[in-house]
Structure formats: structure tokens, C-alpha cells
């Protein structure tokens, strides 16, 4: 872990230097990502201005749900969103081979190499929305602490989606649009699971545990759900373990480009 963190710092420094080579593109991407991810909270505020919203869930609850998910997605995006692009490009060009020559865990190193600072825009907008939501909802320090403790579970869920996508890319080559499936899962997670049909709600709690990305943590903290529901936070951990297993298994089937 210590070496992984050191490599993460080195790769972050190299990625920043690379990105700085194209300053305008960097500035535009960063700003674009920042603004694009402010749309959802604005939409929520507008929706509550003209309707009853989502049943028992108040504007404060919804803003906190959005802020929590945006923060988790922001953290994950900055460190891992490049995973699919990098894997796809490397597998296509055959440079994925070089990654396997590093004396470290292949997935961990791929995450090292996937850091992308233009996604810092999404992280900062997520952080901004979360801070505004916390202030607006007037939650206590204890509630805030619980939310922050549950944040890694949400990040684990989004990370799993990216690891599955990257592994599928290695196995089947050129499946870049899988990124959109991950994005769709992120969008579905921004609403209370109670609005979905019960079967779909159960799937979203267990098999594809997007409920852990925001619905359960915020619902429990804001008193919308029973604390028993926290037991469901085991599912993103299992989901992450499955994605790592799938990655390792995929490497056995890697064929490499060229001769």
C-alpha cells in the first residue's frame, strides 16, 4: 500500500506535468467538468420549486443525496475515470503489455497511470455541492462524520463499475462505450430507490448495489431509512471483490496485440 501511494504520487506529478503541456485544453476540460456536474443540483432545486419532489424526501435530503454521490463520483473520477480510456487505448495499441512488465499489481498500477487532472473539475464541483448541501441541510457534526465514514463504500461501488468495464475491455477489446453504462448507473443512483419498482429496487440494493452509493448512507443519516439498512453496505464491498477477481481472471485470457 505504501508503495502504491508513492507511485500514485509520482504518477500524479507526471500526469499533471503532461496535462500542463496543453494549457488551454486543460483549462477548458477542467471548467467544463466543473460546470457540467452542477446541473443535477440545479435541476433538483428547480424540480422542488414546481412539484412535491420525491415523496418523503425533502429538498435538503435530495441535495445531500446529490452532493454525497457527486463527491463519491468526483473522487473516483479523478483517480480512476481514466481506467477505461487508458485500458482501451493500451489494449488496442498493444502497450498494455508494458504495464504487465512493472513489478507491481497490474490493476493497482493501471489505476496509478489513469489519474487525470481534468476530472479534478468534477471532484471540485462534487465537493462544492456536498458542502452547500451539508450547510443547507443543517446536519450535525456526528451526521457529517457518519456520512464521511460511509463515503468509501460509495467510492467502492463506482470503482467496481470501472474495474469491471476495464476488465471487459481487456477481454473483448474495444468496448469503450462501457463508460456510458457506468455513467448511467451513476445517474440512476441519484434518486431514492423507493421510486423504482420493487424488483428493480432489490437489484439496485444487492446485485448492482447503487443504493450504497448514496440512497442508504443519506437515507439513514437523514432518518428516512432504518439503521438496519446499513447492513446492505456489504454489497458494494462484495461487488468490488468480484470486480477484482474478474480482472485477475481476465489477465489469464489476455491475448496481446501483434505477433
Amino acid at each position: 500500500m505504501k508503495q502504491w501511494l508513492r507511485l500514485e504520487a509520482v504518477c500524479a506529478s507526471l500526469a499533471l506535468r503532461s496535462r500542463m503541456a496543453y494549457r488551454l485544453d486543460f483549462a477548458l476540460s477542467f471548467t467544463g467538468m466543473f460546470l457540467a456536474h452542477l446541473a443535477m443540483p440545479v435541476y433538483i432545486v428547480l424540480l422542488y420549486g414546481v412539484s412535491q419532489g420525491f415523496g418523503e424526501w425533502t429538498l435538503s435530503d435530495m441535495l445531500l443525496l446529490t452532493g454525497f454521490i457527486q463527491l463519491a463520483r468526483g473522487v473516483m473520477s479523478m483517480f480512476m475515470s481514466g481506467l477505461i480510456w487508458h485500458t482501451n487505448e493500451r489494449v488496442h495499441r498493444g502497450t498494455f503489455d508494458l504495464l504487465l512488465l512493472a513489478p507491481v499489481n497490474s490493476l493497482g498500477h493501471l489505476i496509478n497511470r489513469s489519474i487525470d487532472f481534468e476530472d479534478a473539475g468534477q471532484f471540485l464541483s462534487g465537493l462544492a455541492v456536498f458542502v452547500i448541501a451539508v450547510v443547507y441541510a443543517q446536519i450535525s457534526w456526528l451526521q457529517l462524520l457518519v456520512l464521511l465514514l460511509l463515503l468509501p463504500f460509495a467510492i467502492a461501488f463506482f470503482a467496481s463499475l470501472f474495474i469491471f468495464s476495464a476488465a471487459i475491455t481487456v477481454r473483448y477489446i474495444s468496448t469503450l462505450r462501457l463508460f456510458e453504462f457506468s455513467d448511467i448507473a451513476g445517474q440512476y443512483s441519484q434518486f431514492p430507490l423507493s421510486i423504482y419498482p420493487s424488483l428493480l429496487g432489490t437489484v439496485f440494493l444487492t446485485l448492482i448495489p447503487l443504493g450504497a452509493a448514496g440512497y442508504i448512507p443519506v437515507g439513514v443519516v437523514m432518518g428516512q431509512l432504518s439503521t438496519i439498512m446499513l447492513g446492505a453496505m456489504i454489497f458494494p464491498v462484495l461487488f468490488l471483490a468480484m470486480s477484482v477477481w474478474y480482472w485477475q481472471n481476465t489477465l489469464k485470457h489476455y491475448t496481446s496485440a501483434g505477433g
Binding site: Q3, R17, D97, S256
Partner: protein, 325 residues
Amino acid sequence: MDIITIRDLSKTFRVPKRKEGLTSAFRSLFFREYEIKHAVQNVSFTVKSGEIVGLLGPNGAGKSTIIKALTGILNPTSGEVRVLGFEPFSQRKQYVRYIGALFGQKSQLWWDIPPADSFSLSQHLYDIEPEEFERRKQELVTRLGIQDVIYRPARNLSLGERMKCEFVMALLHRPKLVFLDEPTIGLDVFAKQAIRDFIHYTNKEYGTTYILTTHDMDDIEHLAHRVIVINNGEKVFDDSLKALREIAGKTKHVRIVTQEKLPKLPKKGISELQTISDYEAQFVLNREILGIRELVGKIAQKTDIIDLTITDPPVEEVISQLYKQ
């Protein structure tokens, strides 16, 4: 001491195939057909510490697949592979610490930043002490004559400069064994020579073992102690360079340009004659039947020779001669 032992290595791939045309492309969306491609079949050999071994063969022969199995990138379908006491695929993480690899067409450098920055990643990947890292970097960079080059973004470097930086990247952790997959592809003669000198230097100074794949007979001539020829996934030759030269060296490809009309060439010892113009021709010369000196003497008696190019036969031809034997 053998540091590489391969016994009956085989690697097969399941490759999709379809006929040409749009209809076939649509059909393959739903009913995909596959064929089994035997990239490597029952290949066995050993390599001793300190050797420079050339893997030679035409495109698609299976050379790169063997290198990928040896580096732990590919999981062999069957057979046994032991390198430096490791089983490369299953012990990849521990094993790759002791090897280096350079693929001529795949870069390890970060494209938009100077190679000097990229080198720092190797330092941390292999836990090299800062002073030792600096000492090794200076030694390699000086030896390759790229002291200034490493501070320019990789995208601004020429192919030769970039390849030298790739060598530094691959050797900073001082590997015992280095795999080179077409390291001189596309390089000019000066860059090729610098890289060959560098390989000789590290082989002599540090006893680094090299496994080299190439299409370039000159690379083999200048570097390899031993040559293994691979064709259609099978080993067809494994011996010294001298032994290969005895097979390949019987024939030379000759191109000649004369001052006046080209005189009639002798029939014995010359084959595949192509008359390009009244003054220029190219052909294959069998040196066992007609020596180069004798040929040049015969032509020079009748006209001045303006240009004469004598080259080794291409790899494909050498292999075909191997089969004939």
C-alpha cells in the same frame, strides 16, 4: 548456467474469421466463426547466462509470442517455461523485477514530458536509492550520448533518440535479462550502431543476457552469439551464427550498374536475373559456384562498374534454404 529453460512451449489463440463484405460483417455480429491459430508449437530451448541470442523469423512466425510468454505477459497454452528460477506468468510480479524489455514499436515514455521525468517512475517502481538511481542514469545517458536529449519532451525526439531513451528506461533497474523485440526497427545506421555498441557494453560490463528478435540480419551479425530461427511457430534452427552463415552465406543478392551496356553475365552461379535497363541488373549469386571477385573481374574486363550493391538474402530466403537442407 541456464537461466532460461523452455520445454514444449505451445500457445494457441482463438481468432475470429469472416469473409469479406458488408453482409458477412453483419452476419458475424450474430454468428461469429473462430479458427484456432497455433502461434507457437512445441518449442524447446535453453539460454545461458551472459548469452546474446537472436530470435529470427518472418512476420507472424511466433517470435513475439515466445518473448511474451518469456516475459510473463502471455499464459502459455502448454509446456514449461522457467526463467531465472521463476515461472513467468504465475509469478509475474516477483519475476519482472529481474528482467527488462524493450518493444521497438511500443513506448514506455510519457509522450508529453521529457524522458528525464519518465525515468523517475522506474526509480520508484524498482525502489532504487536516489544516489544510485542518479549514478545509473548518468552512466546510461552518457554511454548513449543523450545528455541533452532527455530534457526535451518525448514527442519532440527523433526515433533514434527516443529509442535510446527507451533503453535507459528498460535498463535503469539493472536487469539480469533483457528482451528486445525489434529494437532497431526504422533506425538509421548511426543510431543502430550506437544501440549495438550499448548492448555489447552492458553484456560485457554487467553480464546482461539479451534475447533479441529482429528481421535485420545485420543485428544478428553484430550482436548474436547464437541464433534460433522460428517459422510457422516451430523452431527450425538453433545453432551458432557461424552455422547460420554457412547456410545463408552461400548466396548474395547483387545489384550492378555499369558505364556501358551490361555485358552478358555468366549463367553458372547466377539465378533470378532481372534486367532493369541496358546498364543495370540484379540477381542472386551462388558463391559456391561463382565467387564475387570472379564475377566482378569478368564484368570489369568489359566495362566500368559504376555501382555495385551486395546484400544478404532476406530472412524468408534463409529459412527456405534451411528447409531445403
